[in-house]
């Protein structure tokens, strides 16, 4: 079964890209595809804990991130370097992602059969 690496690199709610990537991840999981989710660059902000998009009448999709594990997606990584750039720590995030460095990011991309960004 081909493996897929889904990369989140955008700030939440400015576009539909992360919602769509999440849907793709859940669908791929339903087909038992090996999946990795990488949060890099501005995408690390997707994992910030206290999101309240309701004030913009936007559905809060951050809850769906917690569903990733329910769907058996355990390989969830967040770019430690990017976190530092935004003065964020692991505690500011939803507790679902493992901190990784830059080399690990290119390795995960290199090992996956498909790499998808939106």
């Amino acid at each position: 079964m081909k493996s897929i690496c889904i990369i989140f690199n955008k700030v939440p709610y400015g576009s539909q890209s992360s919602r769509e990537l999440l849907d793709i991840a859940l669908m791929a999981a339903a087909f038992d595809m090996p999946i990795k989710a990488l949060f890099i660059e501005q995408g690390v902000l997707q994992l910030i804990n206290k999101q309240q998009p309701e004030v913009l009448d936007i559905k809060n999709h951050s809850a769906t991130f917690k569903a990733l594990e329910l769907y058996g997606i355990e390989e969830i990584y967040v770019d430690a370097n990017a976190l530092n750039n935004y003065q964020l720590t692991h505690d500011d995030l939803m507790p679902i992602a493992e901190l990784i460095d830059n080399n690990a990011i290119s390795e995960h991309i290199q090992q996956s059969d498909f790499v998808l960004m939106l």
Binding site: N102, S106, Q110, Q111, D113, V115, M117
Partner: protein, 92 residues
């Protein structure tokens, strides 16, 4: 696995280079063709000719390329290029 990274947005060049491995290639298309002068292009790099011509940049970029490893390719070569790599990564 060798990957061909395809970039169409020059502002994301550094992030893209960061994610690449040594054996990967980079293809600059659309607006990213202006990034040919970027100093960090140590990897195998290509630029799409049609996008250069469309933007009237062919002459300017050819001057940049005098002493650089960047190769200008057309659409047909673009297709052949994708066959030389195990996968493509469209950096968006």
């Amino acid at each position: 696995m060798k990957s061909l990274f395809i970039l169409n947005n020059p502002t994301k060049l550094d992030a893209c280079l960061n994610a690449m491995s040594t054996q990967d290639g980079l293809l600059l298309i659309e607006d990213a063709v202006i990034a040919t002068h970027h100093s960090g292009l140590s990897c195998v790099t290509y630029a799409l000719e049609e996008d250069l011509i469309a933007r009237g940049l062919s002459q300017l970029v050819k001057q940049h390329l005098v002493n650089s490893n960047i190769k200008i390719i057309d659409y047909t070569q673009f297709v052949e290029l994708t066959l030389q790599y195990d996968k493509t990564v469209s950096w968006l």
